[in-house]
């Protein structure tokens, strides 16, 4: 009589698919003419491929974003918890219910160089069915979902973004068998994960506001501070970013006041001089106004732009 114990959990990945399990019993005894040793038949069983996968969001919390931000990066880890080399097809879902907004999907990216960081131009774009990644048993691969945040979102709005990975061989209820489709010539059998895994990460809009403070200092041609023709006015515009998160792509623009003429080459950002041309540096003067691209400014920081005009 056999006692059926409760079944035990499967080992993480377990014996590699295609392995043969061979059993032989041996016997020894004392016969009439001395000790005798012998063996039983050999029973051989092949280990099938078990299809299992898990997906985890590995951002460690909400990923900060801001209205209109292009290039949100969210990180997911896909782990092959089966026992054979398996390719996984991925889908991203940005239109989850129950959250505050839906970002726009840009692309999914493979962490080609396995450094855990999205490297634009280095990490390859993922295209389903074209470069599905083969992952070895118990191994993981990192993928990134790149999105754009709509401009109309409000402070502290959150968006759920999920990644689903399914075994290319097939999915289904646990126990579903794909005859002959397993690694090593056996069958492929769907495991308890149903050969499909999903994990969600969240984007959160961080509140940031910017306050502009403009001041002017006049120096007249006579060493004083009177506003007379020929006086130079130095305008200073301080952009103070407050709140939480980052003010992205902050651009400070100011028209040249009527009755004054812009002093060529007088733009500074954080006291560093900038050229007037529209070029690689952050400042330019187009004949009617000065403009400085101050970039992404974290809350708590200030960017100060100065320029000079001469009273006509």
């Amino acid at each position: 009589m056999l006692v059926f114990a409760t079944s035990q959990p499967a080992f993480a990945a377990g014996t590699i698919a295609g392995t043969d399990i061979q059993n032989i019993a041996e016997a020894t005894y004392d016969g009439p003419s001395g000790p005798v040793t012998g063996q039983s038949n050999t029973v051989t069983i092949k280990v099938d491929e078990l299809l299992n996968v898990t997906v985890a969001s590995t951002d460690g919390g909400d990923v900060s974003t801001s209205p209109g931000f292009v290039g949100n990066v969210q990180k997911y880890r896909v782990t092959n918890t089966g026992n054979g080399d398996e390719a996984f097809a991925l889908t991203a879902n940005v239109a989850s219910g129950g959250d505050d907004f839906d970002p726009t999907f840009q692309k999914m990216v493979i962490d080609t160089n396995n450094n855990g960081v999205y490297d634009p131009g280095v990490d390859a774009d993922y295209i389903a069915g074209t470069n599905d990644q083969v992952i070895s048993p118990d191994q993981s691969k990192i993928f990134f979902i790149i999105t754009t945040t709509p401009s109309g979102v409000a402070n502290l709005n959150r968006a759920e973004v999920s990644l689903t990975a399914v075994a290319v061989t097939g999915t289904g209820a646990a126990g579903t068998t794909f005859t002959g489709a397993g690694q090593g010539g056996g069958n492929a059998v769907v495991g308890l994960t149903t050969a499909s895994g999903t994990a969600s990460g969240f984007l959160a809009v961080q509140s940031v506001t910017v306050a502009l403070t403009k001041t002017a200092v006049i120096s007249d041609p006579f060493g004083g501070s009177r506003a007379v023709p020929g006086s130079i006015i130095t305008y200073s515009i301080a952009a103070n970013v407050t709140g939480s998160g980052t003010m992205n792509n902050l651009t400070i623009t100011d028209p040249i006041p009527a009755g004054t003429a812009y002093e060529i080459g007088s733009i500074t950002l954080q006291t560093a001089g900038l050229t007037d041309a529209t070029d690689a540096d952050a400042g330019n003067y187009n004949g009617t106004r000065v403009s400085v691209a101050a970039g992404n400014v974290p809350a708590g920081q200030t960017r100060t732009v100065t320029f000079k005009v001469k009273i006509q």
């Binding site: 377990g14 043969d20 004392d30 040793t37 012998g38 051989t44």
Partner: protein, 158 residues
């Protein structure tokens, strides 16, 4: 994935169907392996059945059955059956604890609860089923002509 399909399957089938008797000796020893499968009966209830598998997956529960029979005309004394555990199988006990086991490849033997393992850090821990490498039964009585029996142990596919 669908890589190479080996010609091994033919050999497997042949091995499964053979019953080996120990060459030129009057003892028959036969090994069988079954796997427990959950099946749903027609009334909807679940049942566990034993199947003779060609294929298993990690986590499957296996039942190993070793049948022995003295088909000779004389008594066999000091009858001992040893079953080395396949590397991909974790020992999961016997129905009657009549066995002794080895956790060192067959060098030393004992009941599992008295065996100890020295860990990498020098500490000693009690051996557990997954440490078992060999299972052995010492039949303490002579096996008379025509006598037979079977030995059963359980394993889990790692």
């Amino acid at each position: 994935m669908r890589p190479v399909r080996s010609a091994l399957m033919l050999a497997v089938t042949a091995a499964l169907s053979s019953t080996a008797s120990i060459a030129a000796t009057p003892l028959q020893l036969k090994s069988d392996v079954f796997v427990e499968r959950q099946v749903v009966r027609s009334d909807g209830s679940n049942a566990v059945v034993l199947e003779k598998p060609n294929m298993v997956t990690p986590g499957d529960n296996l039942v190993f059955v070793v049948r022995y029979k003295n088909i000779g005309g004389s008594t066999a004394n000091n009858f001992v059956v040893t079953n080395p555990l396949p590397p991909a199988v974790a020992f999961n006990g016997t129905s009657d604890d009549s066995e002794v086991v080895s956790i060192d490849g067959g060098k030393s033997w004992g009941n599992l609860d008295v065996l100890r393992i020295t860990k990498a850090d020098g500490k000693i821990r009690a051996a557990v089923r997954t440490d078992v490498t060999h299972i052995k039964w010492n039949l303490n009585q002579p096996l008379n002509a025509g006598a037979e029996g079977k030995l059963i142990f359980r394993g889990i596919v790692k």
